[in-house]
Symmetry: C2
Subunit: 170 residues, 2 copies
């Protein structure tokens, strides 16, 4: 179930239904409310992200700098590929929607895996905070200022080198 292409806030149940070849009321046999649909989309998006992460996890290089590059590259590509999905996953752009604990679980898992990676290479929680901000900043700038292009997404390698230097990684 993939969302529209011009922002998530304006998505209606009728559009969602049309996208899957149904009428709006039929959605209520599968979900209790519109927010339940958002919840399922949120969970699915982060689950896909987690799956991609776990596939990458096993073939991660031992070098800290290089593994950060691989992880960041993968996450940025995933996030840039689909704007509404990114808005749903990361921004608080829908007025009444708060993801349920179950839907939140895979998002926590992704962050926890990144945390593990940071611990493995002797990095701190504050390092992780800075990493999170830089990566999401690149993604947001890409979406906001050069949609469809790669003016910011191509800076991932440079950004990771910059972070790794700052972290004191070899």
């Amino acid at each position: 179930m993939i969302a529209g292409e011009e922002g998530l806030a304006g998505l209606t149940l009728r559009q969602v239904a049309a996208r899957v070849g149904m009428r709006a009321p039929s959605l209520y046999t599968h979900f209790d409310s519109k927010n339940a649909i958002y919840d399922a989309m949120f969970a699915q998006a982060w689950s896909e992200c987690l799956v991609q992460y776990e596939e990458l996890w096993d073939r991660l290089p031992s070098d800290g700098r290089e593994s950060l590059k691989a992880v960041a590259r993968s996450f940025v590509d995933f996030s840039v590929r689909d704007l509404p999905r990114h808005q749903l996953m990361n921004l608080r752009t829908i007025p009444g929607f708060e993801p349920s604990p179950e839907a939140y679980a895979p998002a926590v898992a992704v962050l926890e895996k990144t945390h593990q990676l940071f611990l493995r290479h002797g990095l701190t929680d504050e390092d992780l905070d800075l990493y999170v901000a830089v990566i999401s900043g690149l993604i947001d700038a890409q979406h906001a200022n050069d949609p469809g292009g790669q003016r910011w997404s191509r800076l991932v390698h440079r950004a990771i080198d910059m972070l790794a230097d700052n972290f004191g990684l070899p």
Copy 2:
């Protein structure tokens, strides 16, 4: 005219009117449409930002690293102070709204001043892109993950040092 506190997308004309002590229809004597109100708010927000920038501009230190810190600190504080304003200024969170050229002018002016600052210290356009991404990443992370706190906004100094190192600034 300041917006609400729980996100901009759900803001209604009745709320806007109530905030200024009026009824919804009375707004139409001042604005042609809801988007015209957004447009005025967009223009005002960026104008305020520009004013703050220009006040800072005259007492900017000659040192590149320190002037970047001052500018970034000022912009981050401004953006963190008001979430709906930040959403209006930077994110594309309102479905049908696109700012008019006149409203966009002060936003361009702010970016242009930053561009001048970068040129003054021998920095490139790509350096500016990276700077923009990092700073807005800090702001967004602050709003999204620690609203009301300063877990990310306090990393501005470290982030600028990291950027300045990467730029080759002394």
